[in-house]
Amino acid sequence: MISAPMTEASRTSAQSLRSDSITAFDMSVTADHIRDRLIKELAAVHVDVEDTSPNRCAASFKVLVVSPQFENKPLLQRHRMVNTCLAEELKEIHAFEQKTLTPEQWKKQNSQ
């Protein structure tokens, strides 16, 4: 399942917009905002964002990120990529859970 197909053009424009989107950041982090960023900056082909805030006392999110950029990268490095992508947002987020898969791992997990 591919929920967010990316064209080469939109990827390039997303990269050039990076600094703008940081300044446009307005304190209220939403699931959509997180999803958009991960798709743009990590070329994610599938992103699930669950807002777990109601279970906790402050902004909390659980994300699943599927990106070909994770290939041949150890788990710690993948998580660092997500942390870097969401560095500004994480300052406002109380709790953050993440799972990082390559498209191949994602396919395998879904077929089980």
Binding site: L76, L90, E97, Q98, K99
Partner: protein
């Protein structure tokens, strides 16, 4: 009073002093957060009883300092042999895929 540079130096020593080091909210006996609790439970499951746990809720400088030290934005944080391993998600996945047993074996801990 400890300067930020001193704290970073201390952290370098703290993570090397024990084979397994955890920075968490609360203590192993009384974790104050679900994620910290998950790390404690996973270590317990693998028979890791003897580890250094530092409560970041008792020290706001430590809480920020350890994030800067590891360049990692969240607590808990786990270190093996002075090396940053990851947070709760990573430890859980290592537990599930068998990597944790291997890593603990390298430390001479049989789980």
């Amino acid at each position: 009073l400890c300067s930020a540079a001193d704290l970073q130096k201390n952290l370098g020593e703290m993570v090397k002093k024990d084979k397994v080091v955890v920075f968490m909210k609360g203590t192993p006996a009384q974790p104050m957060c679900g994620f910290s609790n998950a790390v404690v439970q996973i270590l317990r499951m693998h028979g890791v009883d003897n580890y250094a746990a530092y409560n970041v809720l008792e020290d706001q400088d430590l809480r920020q300092g350890v994030k800067d030290f590891s360049n990692w934005p969240t607590i808990p944080q786990v270190y093996f042999n002075g090396e940053f391993v990851g947070g709760c998600d990573i430890l859980l996945q290592m537990h599930q895929n068998g990597d944790l047993v291997e890593e603990l074996k390298k430390l001479g801990i049989r789980s």
